[in-house]
């Protein structure tokens, strides 16, 4: 905290106005200032509503990120009036963090932009997208929009893909979307199995590009865990997507990125003219740098916080005979024995917002994100009331 106070004074507090600001902050206390903004996290959203529908980090970004955002206003508050032009600094910081070169990285307005960009570049009329059903919809939606075919790979009863079948179905595909941990099913395929799958796919279908979406990477607690960034950097057919929207708590800022072979990244960067500078805002760029540079304990404690809430919430459902899929993320996928819509509407009426439909499981399953422990203690009370009632429609 002492360090962050110094940073704040150094960046914002320069010159005459700065002197006033500094004494002002000194009097109030730096922590007081930041935490005053956080004292009623959800009150502004809709009084009392618990939002556990979008796999967000309920704690938001760390104080250093918020400091950096405020510093990004500039000493006189004019900086947001200037075009970004600083995307390179975030790329450099990311390159350092991941031990890759700047030419291995392209930024996006959230990983959403990355997913679209990759889909645009690697699917075609005769080059379908292959992904599990269900999966995060962005690539499939965009491929469909472009008139390109989407092939769905079913999951087994544990909500895991049969990787041999997945690899076989991906022969001749333009793009494979491999989200791990998988959204919305929350399950995780271990690093060894993923490595074998990628190798098999690569040898069976050398022209197929594989997008490994590691959005929930930081939440995995399974020891058989590693990033595929090193593979992506050397293999032009593998791309890894990452985001600041999940464990880093910055969904509102819109920062994501892809890491891959320099040739692949060049192709992606060309499609989205001026990588980063045209679609990303200055607060996001500066916040992203601060997020990377903050102490590693931020992610460690966020993972621990999430794990505790995950254990609590999953046990609550399991104790009531509704065993969720084995979650390695900040959300779970659970058979509630009734249509998700019915459950969702009933929960919403009681101030708890859970996720949208995920066909083909919309008649039986719901995705629930993990809020804070307090929020989940409240939420399970609502779930208890709602699920205590028999389903109005037979599942």
């Amino acid at each position: 905290m002492a360090l962050s106070r110094r940073n704040f004074v150094r960046t914002v507090g320069i010159g005459a106005a700065g002197a006033l600001t500094t004494s002002f902050i000194g009097a109030r206390g730096r922590e007081n200032f930041i935490w005053s903004a956080l004292e009623a996290p959800l009150e502004a959203a809709a009084p009392g509503t618990i939002i556990i529908s979008s796999n967000e980090n309920p704690m938001g970004p760390g104080p250093k990120v918020l400091d950096a955002i405020k510093a990004a206003f500039g000493a006189d508050g004019s900086r947001p009036g200037r075009y970004s032009g600083t995307a390179r600094d975030l790329i450099d910081a990311l390159a350092k963090k991941h031990g890759v070169k700047p030419e291995n990285i392209v930024l996006g307005c959230g990983s959403t932009q990355i997913l679209r960009n990759v889909t645009h570049n690697f699917t075609a009329k005769d080059k379908p997208l292959v992904a599990t059903i269900p999966t995060y919809e962005e690539c499939a939606d965009y491929a469909t929009l472009m008139g390109n075919k989407v092939v769905g790979v079913p999951l087994d009863s544990e909500f895991r893909p049969d990787l041999d079948r997945f690899a076989d179905m991906a022969r001749g595909a333009g793009l494979v979307f491999y989200c791990n941990p998988s959204n919305p099913s929350s399950t995780y395929v271990g690093a060894r199995a993923t490595r074998d799958f990628l190798a098999k796919l690569n040898s069976q279908s050398p022209e197929t590009t594989i997008l490994v979406d590691e959005a929930y990477f930081e939440y995995v607690t399974n020891p058989d865990h590693e990033t595929f960034i090193p593979l992506a950097v050397q293999n032009p057919r593998v791309i890894v997507a990452r985001t600041f929207s999940k464990a880093y708590g910055m969904a509102g800022l819109r920062v994501g990125y892809a890491i891959g072979h320099a040739d692949t990244i060049k192709k992606l960067a060309e499609w989205d003219a001026g990588s980063g500078t045209s679609s990303m805002n200055v607060l996001a760029l500066q916040g992203g740098i601060a997020a990377i540079q903050q102490d590693a304990s931020f992610i460690v404690s966020e993972r621990a916080r999430n794990t505790a809430v995950r254990d609590f919430t999953m046990k609550w459902f399991a104790d009531r005979g509704m065993k969720p899929a084995d979650s390695q993320a900040n959300f779970m996928f659970v058979n509630i024995g009734r249509p998700a819509k019915e459950f969702r509407d009933a929960c919403a009426a009681k101030g708890v917002r859970v996720a949208r439909d995920f066909p083909p499981f919309e008649k039986t399953h719901c995705r629930i994100a993990f809020g804070t422990m307090e929020e989940m203690q409240q939420a399970v009370k609502v779930f208890g009331e709602v699920l205590g009632k028999p389903a109005t429609i037979a599942a």
Binding site: T21, A37, A44, G77, P80, G81, R254
Partner: protein, 396 residues
């Protein structure tokens, strides 16, 4: 606590104190930045003489930024930085609704973009193809031109007329068979504007000549126009199929760094464009910033007046140096410097003044100069006075 937050930016943003602050920060900041870049072996401009602050008048930005109310609103949303823009309060849907209310239209007539650049790119993707190209001007804002080239779609660039205005007749003649006609009004970089009657007539005749083409009227500099014959084409877009108007918060609203733009048109046209929209393209902070700004029209009025005063001062100073500006209706000037823009730019940069890039086919004779603060432009004019001495490298 609210008082705490507001207090900070009221204090920092005070007119009398921030000038000093900005000067100090810019001088130190720039030198430190350049030194840092150089230690990394990266390309950077040479350090400026000690005490010189960089004057950035190269990108048609609002030098004052969005103002204290907007900054306060952003800080007020720190608790929701972790929420997606559809979960925050206000949400991105609230911004769409606020824009609709502003124009007295429906949300279905509005599509948001990460800057109007996303709108322009989406339009090229949505409305051009290998057999239906882009009709645009030269010089004009290049974004659609570059994307059409990249996609390999046919491209027709119509040179501006003798008065540096979009050549309406030739653009109409080029429209048949095209997919998209891009009409930047006022036109960047030439700064000229067409009046409402000309635009209405242009749209009607393009519609007749090319019924399937979409006409995209980019009004990025709308708030800076002072020509009484000008009017926004938003009502025209609402009553005419295949017409879109692009707007941005990057110029008079002072939020270029926030990336917020939007398109307005008939629901059917907007829908075709919006298929290419990136989901959640505006940040939680961008959403609240834009809504706050829309609720403060007096701020924009003041910015228009400020810009007009500084623009008139700068144009007159350049005229006194024998350099004629086109009739500007933006926050920038297109000026005949009678020498290559690069020579002028490099000479100005050495003294800490950054001016606009090359704009072919006028890169040998004209430069684009954005309008900074009055203080900045007074200093910039002194630099121009030194640089724009009689040409000794004629014919280069």
């Amino acid at each position: 606590m609210l008082r705490t937050r507001r207090g900070l930016f009221t204090v920092v943003g005070r007119e009398d104190s921030y000038r000093n602050t900005a000067a100090l920060f810019a001088a130190r900041g720039h030198e430190a930045y350049v030194a840092e870049l150089q230690t990394q072996g990266r390309n950077a401009r040479p350090p400026l003489p000690p005490g010189t602050q960089e004057i950035r008048i190269s990108s048609n930005e609002n030098p004052l930024g969005p103002g204290a109310k907007v900054l306060d609103a952003i800080v007020g949303k720190f608790p929701e930085a972790g929420r997606y823009p559809f979960n925050s309060t206000p949400s991105d849907a609230n911004l769409t609704a606020a824009i609709a209310t502003h124009f007295k239209i429906k949300p279905e007539n509005v599509s948001l973009g990460a800057g109007s650049q996303e709108i322009l790119r989406s339009a090229v993707r949505a409305f051009t193809g290998p057999d239906r190209g882009l009709v645009t001007a030269a010089p004009t804002f290049e974004n659609p031109t570059s994307l059409a080239k990249k996609l390999g779609h046919p491209l027709t660039e119509i040179p501006v007329d003798a008065d540096f205005r979009l050549d309406v007749e030739k653009m109409i003649a080029a429209a048949p068979g095209s997919g998209l006609v891009f009409f930047n009004n006022p036109n960047n970089p030439t700064a000229t504007v067409h009046g409402a009657k000309t635009v209405t007539d242009f749209v009607a005749r393009v519609r007749k000549a090319a019924p399937d083409a979409v006409i995209l009227i980019d009004e990025a500099y709308h708030d800076y126009v002072t020509d009484p014959s000008y009017a926004t084409a938003v009502p025209l877009a609402l009553e005419t199929p295949n017409v879109l108007v692009a707007r941005t918060f990057s110029k008079a609203y002072g939020m270029a760094g926030m990336r917020i733009g939007f398109a307005v048109g008939q629901a059917e046209t907007v829908k075709r464009l919006a298929r290419f929209k990136m989901p959640y393209n505006i940040s939680v902070f961008g959403v609240v910033a834009a809504i706050t700004a829309l609720n403060d029209p007096a701020h924009i009025e003041a910015e228009r007046n400020r810009n007009l005063e500084v623009r008139s001062f700068t144009a007159k100073a350049l005229a006194d140096l024998g350099c004629k500006c086109t009739d500007s209706h933006g926050n920038f000037l297109f000026v005949e410097i009678k020498r290559p823009a690069k020579d002028f730019r490099d000479a100005c940069a050495k003294q800490g003044v950054s001016v606009g890039r090359d704009f072919p086919p006028f890169e040998k004779t004209h430069a684009r100069i954005s309008i900074g603060t009055m203080d900045e432009m007074r200093k910039a004019v002194e630099v121009f006075r030194g640089v724009l001495k009689p040409v000794t490298t004629a014919g280069r």
